[in-house]
Symmetry: C2
Subunit: 413 residues, 2 copies
């Protein structure tokens, strides 16, 4: 059986994801689709709207065969580490081709860029440092460095587009991991990653969908069913009804505020992404903000991107220290595979493949011990604290008791 891999967050699953999924299967002629999915916290440094279990159901209901969790130590990081963790997992489970969406839509451009940057690595890094020393954020400095080097070679990949950046790092990781997998890319349809409003009648970005959901304007909510499969909408509604909660940062703001107030500056500086005195800035503004949004606006500077600051806040919330991220940052692959769900076909693939996988395949968290997994257990607990008190304790136990989701036709209804 040929396995094709996709890297996803599904926050929540929508028609754009469905298109990507079906195209991935078609262009690779794959038999099974394996998704590596961020757990409860995502690359932008925010909580997922519903838990990883519910998002696994969305994935299975729409045709994904196997869902594996991208651990927190990779999922909440800059593109380079996020991509490295994801590609490592897909390679470990035996994926032959990885298929990702991009603005460019042409895989050759990614490989050419990789060769170009690799050849000019030292100069590239020097340029990044130079632009950072001028007060630019890391992504901005990277983009400026790249433009300055690129010169007239206009055929090179446009690295100012968010999905091109991610795609570049997937290709980079494939190279780093010994070129054992093939990369493929599909041109993204209509909606842009950051779009806040619906771009077409059936395809909308996850950002715009979350915005519509949280705004609860009847008008916008009415159109949500047009941009996502019915199964997703049902699973979203079920989660919201049974938990009285859709997760967003505001629900965690009281905990963040408490953590900042109860920590010393030195303790905040020990937290991952704490640097250049950011901890003083957080301490200074925490007394005046009435919401997470207000707080973020008050600490924002040109020097740091929104996502970078949001990730620092997230690591404070989850008490994730610099030392906790050393393993992932040194580009060590995840030391295990955590199975969140599978279809019948996915199960058959795993049975066939199992013996060739040389790291543990985990279905219960108590069966394996590693700091990367301990971190995932901890953040799952913190994720649950957004729920009403009487529901929290069940969810706290869920991380230990939940077996991988098995696909049934029920999920589709």
């Amino acid at each position: 059986m040929k396995a094709v891999g996709v890297v996803v967050e599904y926050n929540p699953f929508h028609n754009g994801h469905l298109f990507h999924l079906e195209e991935s299967r078609r262009v690779t002629e794959g038999d099974v689709v394996i998704a590596v999915m961020s757990g409860n916290f995502l690359q932008r440094g925010e909580p997922a709207i519903v838990s990883k279990w519910q998002r696994t159901k969305m994935a299975l209901a729409s045709g994904v065969d196997i869902v594996l969790e991208l651990p927190y130590a990779y999922s909440t990081q800059k593109a380079e580490i996020f991509a490295f963790g994801s590609i490592s997992i897909l390679q470990a489970i035996g994926v032959e081709e990885v298929c990702f969406g991009s603005e460019a839509g042409n895989i050759d451009l990614f490989h050419e860029l990789y060769e170009f940057i690799n050849k000019n690595k030292q100069h590239f890094n020097e340029q990044i440092q130079f632009y950072m020393s001028q007060g630019n954020s890391y992504p901005k400095a990277t983009s400026l460095a790249f433009s300055s080097m690129k010169g007239k070679q206009q055929q090179l990949l446009d690295l100012s587009q968010p999905n091109n950046i991610l795609g570049y790092h997937y290709v980079e990781a494939i190279h780093l991991l010994g070129n054992k997998m093939k990369g493929k890319t599909i041109q993204r349809k209509s909606a842009q990653y950051h779009d806040e409003s619906f771009a077409s009648e059936t395809i909308a970005s996850a950002t715009s969908i979350r915005k519509a959901i949280f705004n609860k304007s009847a008008n916008q909510k009415g159109t949500i069913h047009q941009v996502m499969p019915k199964s997703t909408l049902d699973l979203l509604t079920y989660y919201e009804t049974s938990n009285h909660t859709l997760h967003d940062w505001e629900l965690y703001f009281p905990m963040l505020k408490y953590q900042i107030l109860s920590s010393t500056e030195a303790e905040l500086a020990e937290i991952y992404e704490g640097e250049e005195g950011l901890e003083f800035r957080l301490k200074r503004f925490i007394n005046t903000a009435n919401s997470f949004a207000e707080f973020m606006h008050s600490i924002k500077t040109k020097r740091y991107t929104w996502n970078r600051l949001q990730r620092y806040c997230l690591h404070i919330l989850t008490n994730t220290k610099k030392a906790d991220m050393q393993w992932a940052n040194a580009k060590n692959s995840p030391p295990y595979l955590r199975l969140l769900g599978m279809s019948a076909k996915g199960q058959a693939y795993l049975n066939q493949r199992k013996k060739l996988v040389d790291i543990p395949l985990i279905t219960k968290v108590n069966s394996f011990h590693h700091p990367i997994l301990e971190l995932d257990k901890k953040v799952a607990n913190i994720y649950a604290l957004a729920l009403p008190n009487r529901l929290q304790n069940d969810r706290l136990r869920e991380e230990y008791t939940q077996s991988p989701i098995r696909f049934t036709e029920e999920l589709k209804k």
Copy 2:
């Protein structure tokens, strides 16, 4: 002017306190009464029902002339350190006599006991260790050791009574600090420290008063005005109305739960009072408790008193490390005096006395820096987090902006 000192928590101020205050003034023939008062968190390891500022108003309205804050590093400790910090402050401000309530009501008994214990110190400590090794709590072991040593000397002070224990440590601290002050004691009237129901029509314990307030049974609340001055009741009511809050542990339980879940066992063991693997016990039961009361019942064992466990929880809430308490535990006196409030007479006393006080007298927290004061600033912030979100930020600034309360007749109304 002759100053008499009292050690108080006023949680809240009631007729028993008023009796103690008036008797202290009478028996010592003092001109000014100086109270050293626990700040926002108290010796039993719990938040005060209203803030230290509101409790200062209660004290001034009932005739206290000067209120000084007992820092958190002393106020939330076992009797020995609590008493040492309190007596140090009273001595620094020039108090000649300290007057405390006790079950015994005879100061000679306290001095005799101090001589007796001092003479048999080594044997006493060995006996305490012996009883602790049999699984008893520290206070229980102390009491057993004392009984075994005391033998037939039945005239010695009864150390099983809570106010006798505190009183003993006041006398001990007076001795340790060079016998510069005189101790006096007044027999407590009617209500016992731990009583949960009203013992008489006009005197009730603070415990029973808080219980009546939180139960909000119209029946019991109706009788509260009989057991406290009108000024106290008005100040309580005003605080509750304007803050929509009377503080109790349950309001802080979500933060405690979050802190326990986001900390590793090793981090919990670094917290003051964390020992003998208590951190594992807390981690084990935090997922199943729905309230602070439930949590406390689940972690309680014979080995630790309720108050001892409550204090550990409090230090986790305030992120107070073992290192933060070293200064106080080594019996260093508080390095400053923090003025919370004064009457006109109190102010005259301070003007007269000021030059003789050899540690800083603080009226604004930004004017002095010491880890003991930093800790007080931090815990004041955490105390405020029980308030509704929109009121929190004003209270967070209060610690920096509030000047000492000056007594006006307004307070009495």
